[in-house]
Subunit: 216 residues, 3 copies
């Protein structure tokens, strides 16, 4: 038995949350696009410029999240529903924070080139952010789209598994190849942070799946 | 005054959560047992096999957790009670995730042997998981067993303190002894992750204590 | 529309939470003061003594938090309000945990001196803890002090931004200057942990801001 039909409550009063969540996911996708650009850069002097663009995106994300919270608290909505929108907003922001952390590390550590797997991971992350955007776009009509949304979440999870494999091989690679400990630290931490971003994108999928299970 | 008597609500409708939580703790214990085995391995060629067994346990844990969530959301239960079962399930899963992370690092880094304190920490973690299993087995009858459960939680906390000391000495040790920075990184991160697992087992104890305070 | 006026509920029954939160913030401030002392120490043999003092403060903090939880669960208060006091208590404790982690690392790694930015970061953190104390002191009368509390939270956020800049420069500095990988690891991790403490102090501000938005 479902004692709380989120969808019914959600539609009349809470439509306004959809555009906010959508703008969060669009902003996130833009950050993921810049990360691909950063991962392919071969000139160290370009690191800073791309990092600053990503940082601006991250700051914009903070503003959108803060707007979401303000709206959540000024709207009549059950604590239960609020909690789910809250989690979704926070986790979307966490993905973007991780993207910012990757870029910040590249800028701070100034590595001479990046492991080739960083490009692969940035591409996987971008695909994940596309799926996140798609899933959030479907929340509005989730009752009709349960299957599609679940499928998108499954794809997010598959990407996370692929990213795990790429990450593991990258780490094995640098411990095998890199004899300079300081370079190893730089590469390892950049890889760890981008892997964490894909992990958090998968978490977004899990939260969406939970919402679907509860309310659709 | 208690405005929500969890126990009374819990018994009639929510009995089904006990076996799920129990199977999570049994699965966790199996993972902790394998970690002892890994910590004692002297042959690098055995790392992968044990890691894959732990990974299988971790995947099984994810499935049980997902089953718990499905049951939680399809059962009439207050958001308040749900939140506690939810936290308990998630934290149990976090312990197992940390065990998997330890094993994954051993497999990725291929260290030439492990610091001797890893065996000690794995043994402490296994004892902690036994206590977790015991406490979860008592939730069903917590009203009668408040004292015992509190005592088990206290023992969990004592183990965490012991693990902290072992961990600190291990770190002091490797910074003192290990002059190769890459080996130091390998050992340090493996130690950090196993210490984190014991920390999370203590968190399980704290959640159980909170449940006891609220509902028994 | 606000369906839950925290303030009205809070005053009659929940006044007792203020002194507990205040003693948490006073204890935290004491820890931050000791961290400044540690950051300025030039004698390695003094590390241990200051660390043990900080550890005692951290243990005291755990006791106060546990007392807060006990009071929360034995008081008639909505789950919604409870959640906010809970988050505030936990995040205050997280700041102190990070301070303890910094000191523990100094004690474990026994670095030959600390990067000069550690002093700067410890001073910023102490200022943040003073602001936290001020904000918590105002919760009691928040209806009259909305503007002041919001302003204090903004100052906390500004400090976090300053700390970010100091931290970034410190990391760039050590990667530039430090050629010994093991020393680099020591300094990097100590800096990371103190930066994390300032981050968490900012989180305290965010939680307080949320409470203000909801209830004042």
């Amino acid at each position: 038995m479902k004692f709380n039909t989120f969808f019914n409550r959600f539609v009349p009063h809470e439509r306004k949350f959809y555009p906010i969540l959508s703008s969060m996911s669009a902003n996130l996708l833009e950050g993921a696009g810049l990360l691909i650009q950063l991962s392919k850069t071969t000139r160290k002097e370009d690191y800073r410029g791309i990092y600053l663009q990503i940082k601006a995106i991250e700051t914009k994300g903070d503003r959108i999240l803060s707007h979401l919270f303000d709206e959540l608290h000024s709207t009549f909505i059950t604590p239960f529903d609020r909690e789910d929108i809250n989690s979704l907003g926070e986790e979307l922001d966490n993905v973007l924070d991780s993207i910012n952390s990757v870029a910040k590390r590249v800028e701070m550590y100034q590595p001479n080139g990046l492991p080739k797997q960083v490009v692969e991971l940035a591409n996987l992350l971008h695909s994940a952010c596309l799926l996140v955007q798609q899933a959030i776009g479907l929340l509005d009509t989730m009752k009709k789209n349960v299957k599609t949304v679940k499928n998108v979440c499954q794809q997010l999870h598959d990407i996370e598994n692929q990213a795990d494999d790429v990450y593991e091989n990258a780490i094995i690679d640098i411990f095998d190849r890199e004899k300079d400990a300081i370079n190893l630290i730089k590469h390892k931490e950049i890889l760890q942070e981008i892997e964490r971003a894909t992990d958090r994108a998968d978490c977004v999928g899990k939260i969406i799946k939970t919402i679907i299970v509860k309310y659709a």
